[in-house]
């Protein structure tokens, strides 16, 4: 192979090769890190909440009065909501996965451990809670209606739940041997017995920590406050008609209230992950542009080299080199230059990730991202050089015989 002449050609005019290698290195460092971030964000965005996302509607109800018999009002509202055609079930609570609200409490296994083992989201729900959220029960049972106590702004202590439902992830965290059912946990100083384990229900606030996001507890309380979050689960495909029926039905009971926007959960999910989506879109479009610019750079510089060396190419052709030899020359040259850039890119990309881990809360990037982007760079390099090398191969041998030709 003609590697040695390529080296000497590069050595005589190293700047062009250096520029391409440098570009490749920076592009690669950016690309592997950005694609890692994008992959992580996509994975976070796709985490299921565990609730029946396709059929859930939620809205805030705000009573116009600060005080009053919220208990009977909430119960009347819920009975009305449950009786609407197309409604499966409804409940009143304070928070919703991805929509925020609710409580965040530390969970302990002894009454004296005030720091707790972990934090968990806590949702107060009545005996319809499981059905209204569409949760899957893995073991044990749900709340019965006689277990439900009142929770009001004046009597607000969710730690006093005698029985609780916990998510499978939380049960495993607290009781790694899988024997959580029937065991007491402490949200405050009083014990709460785990009577059921729910497959999955995410915490209310979107968090980067994937474990915390899965820790939720349901406590048997009917929330009776001036602001209530109603959760309505509709029969499949009927959320539009139900959403339209809710405001007039509730207005008929009482007009001393404000009903917030009725959000299908699909919307809640889109809103919650909007910043994630924005980041994915911005990063991937910048990366795509970056790749295009880098490829164009390779095309441009190689075309320029070809025009500079057209006389030498002509001489080689006149001395018997075939067109395929010329093609091979430029592709090999590109491979060497891009390869050198890719090696620098591996080091630079890894160093960037190390920095990001140190200064931002980033995870360590798996090696596969670096290797894949190195491979992509090599392939794109070869593709970019196709057209200039084709032009080079077309240089007629007769060109060598002419004295001095400016070829641009």
């Amino acid at each position: 192979m003609e590697i040695l002449p390529i080296f000497s050609a590069i050595r005589r005019n190293p700047v062009g090769a250096l520029l391409i290698a440098l570009q490749i290195a920076v592009t690669m460092a950016v690309m592997c890190n950005a694609s890692f971030v994008v992959a992580q964000q996509l994975q976070r965005m796709n985490r299921p909440t565990g609730i029946d996302e396709a059929n859930i509607l939620t809205f805030y109800n705000v009573w116009s009065t600060q005080s009053g018999d919220f208990k009977s009002r909430v119960q009347t509202d819920l009975a009305t909501l449950r009786s609407l055609p197309g409604v499966d079930d409804a409940t009143a609570t304070l928070g919703l996965p991805l929509r925020g609200g609710g409580y965040n409490l530390s969970v302990a296994l002894t009454p004296t451990d005030t720091k707790g083992i972990t934090d968990s989201a806590v949702y107060p729900v009545d005996s319809h809670g499981m059905a209204a959220f569409g949760l899957q029960l893995r073991a044990g049972r749900g709340f019965t209606s006689d277990e439900i106590a009142d929770l009001t702004a004046e009597h607000e202590d969710p730690t006093l739940a005698p029985v609780v439902l916990v998510t499978h992830a939380l049960a495993d965290r607290l009781f790694p041997h899988g024997d959580a059912l029937g065991k007491p946990i402490y949200l405050g100083t009083k014990p709460s017995t785990i009577i059921g384990i729910v497959d999955r229900m995410q915490a209310a606030h979107v968090s980067m920590a994937s474990d915390l996001m899965e820790y939720s507890i349901l406590v048997p309380f009917q929330w009776e406050g001036s602001t209530t979050l109603y959760v309505v689960r509709t029969k499949p495909g009927q959320y539009k008609s139900v959403a339209a029926a809710i405001p007039p039905a509730l207005a008929r009971i009482s007009r001393a209230r404000v009903i917030g926007n009725i959000n299908p959960f699909v919307q809640t999910r889109a809103d919650a992950y909007r910043p994630f989506r924005a980041m994915v879109l911005i990063l991937s479009s910048v990366c795509t542009l970056l790749l295009i610019i880098t490829c164009l750079g390779i095309v441009g510089l190689t075309t320029y080299w070809v025009s500079q060396r057209s006389r030498q190419i002509g001489i080689r052709r006149a001395l018997g080199a075939r067109q395929v030899d010329i093609l091979r020359y430029f592709h090999t040259e590109n491979f060497l230059v891009v390869g050198a850039g890719a090696i620098a890119g591996i080091i630079l990309g890894d160093a960037t990730n190390v920095l990001a881990v140190e200064h931002f809360a980033m995870a360590r990037m798996p090696q596969v991202y670096i290797l894949a982007s190195a491979l992509i760079m090599l392939v794109l390099g070869q593709l970019s050089v196709l057209w200039p090398s084709f032009r080079a191969a077309k240089v007629p041998p007769a060109l060598a015989t002419r004295a001095q030709v400016e070829h641009r």
Partner: protein
């Protein structure tokens, strides 16, 4: 002489139109990508109250104890009711205010209009003087109003327009949670961004629609819709009074301390106060207090998420790649002009003259790239507005400072990229070019 160089540069651009356009486009795309990501950072890193940001402080007192403290070991951002009242009484500063966010229903006077809910702020009157909120009409409520727990309100511009359609609302009543409040003031549009005085949720959230006295809200037992941190839940049997006498932290508290001396004194007072509370047996842990001004507060609260910095880093790496590309393109261009540069050298131009001539051409390319880059930045920011969170979309815009930064960055970056090609061009042997 410089004018002559620019004329030469202009001619050269025209002669190498394709290559020049490619250079300009490459740099402009790099500028567009980097500046559009920088715009987000610029918006979020702004000082929301630059004339006072070193004089406004958040006092923090650890009323929750080590079990509830975050991993960083910092005290809670919020104060308990007891502590807020104690600070107010024991150490009056130039201005101060305890505040919390509430939700109120507004019943329009027009019975055909449906009631609606707004976010409101219960706050001491110090809020308005501390933050220099601009009043369109009237002013904030009086000390007497606060003491009498009067039903008075200050409206934000948007709500005043919505309810009164340009009529003067001063002295009129607004029905909030079925109680009538007398309107004493209307603000001009005022949306400090980030919303430094309440960073508990979205840092870019809009300001509240109504303000009522803190004392009135407490009197009406209006619950906060913000965070509430408790080490021990207040005794439910005691109801509202239980919350007020608990150590639960749920109030924002700001003080205005005009001089560094004031701040030092206040800091000492704060520590002394917490130590006294510990001695009195209220806190079973060593006193832990902080006093941060607006700028320190924004940094402490991590207002700019890491993601924004990461995206910005990607944007500027992109610019770097574009510049490397531009170096290649400029090399190609100057190489194509060896003959006329050679003639200039032969006619007596020094190497330095050639360098200056080439740099003048870079400067011209930089100027054009800057203009094109600015256009791309504006386009990219418009696109960003469609994808970022709604609150960010509302505040993100390209201001005059950003325009200047864009043009300057393009100019400096292009001249830097042109340095090496210019130096190369100056080394052309004059004799070689005359042999033709």
């Amino acid at each position: 002489m410089l004018a002559y160089y620019f004329k030469l540069a202009f001619n050269s651009l025209r002669k190498n139109l394709a290559l020049s356009c490619l250079t300009i486009a490459t740099i402009a795309i790099g500028i567009g990508a980097s500046m559009s990501t920088y715009t987000i950072y610029h918006v979020m890193s702004g000082d929301p109250i630059p004339w006072k940001s070193s004089e406004l402080f958040v006092p923090q007192i650890d009323s929750l104890g080590p079990t509830v403290r975050s991993k960083s070991g910092e005290p809670s951002d919020l104060l308990s009711y007891q502590d807020a009242i104690a600070l107010q009484n024991a150490r009056p500063a130039l201005h101060q205010a305890a505040m919390y966010q509430i939700q109120l229903t507004v019943a329009p006077a027009d019975p055909n209009q449906l009631p609606f809910a707004v976010s409101a702020r219960a706050s001491g009157a110090g809020f308005f003087s501390m933050f220099d909120t601009p009043f369109a009409l009237g002013t904030y409520w009086s000390k007497a109003d606060e003491q009498q727990r009067a039903n008075v309100a200050v409206l934000a511009a948007g709500l005043a327009d919505r309810l009164f359609h340009g009529e003067n609302p001063l002295g009129k009543a607004i029905t909030l949670n079925q109680r009538d409040y007398r309107i004493v003031g209307v603000l001009k549009p005022w949306n400090p961004s980030p919303r430094f005085y309440d960073l508990s949720g979205d840092a870019l959230a809009q300001s509240d629609a109504v303000y009522i006295p803190f004392t009135t809200a407490i009197d009406h037992q209006m619950a906060s819709i913000g965070h509430k941190f408790c080490a021990i839940m207040p005794d439910p049997a005691q109801g509202w009074q239980g919350l007020l006498s608990s150590n639960c932290a749920w109030l924002q508290y700001w003080v205005e301390l005009p001089t560094a001396g004031d701040a030092d004194n206040y800091r000492q007072f704060l520590q002394q106060y917490a130590t006294d509370q510990q001695r009195a047996g209220r806190f079973g842990w060593p006193a832990l207090t902080r006093l941060r001004n607006v700028r320190e507060w924004l940094i402490y609260k991590h207002v700019i998420p890491d993601e924004i910095r990461a995206v910005m880093a990607v944007g500027f790496s992109f610019l770097l790649v574009c510049l490397i590309n531009a170096i290649g393109l400029m090399l190609a261009k100057f190489n194509g002009r060896t003959s006329d540069l050679g003639v200039r050298r032969a006619l007596g131009a020094s190497k330095r003259d050639v360098v200056v001539q080439c740099l003048a051409e870079s400067a011209l390319v930089g100027l054009l790239s800057g203009v094109a880059g600015l256009a791309l930045t504006l386009l990219a920011v418009a696109a960003e507005r469609n994808v970022v969170s709604e609150s960010l979309a509302k505040v993100i815009h390209v201001d005059l400072v950003l325009v200047l930064i864009t043009l300057l960055l393009a100019e400096i970056a292009t001249i830097c990229a042109g340095l090496y090609p210019a130096w190369r061009a100056s080394r052309i042997q004059p004799a070689l070019q005359l042999k033709m």
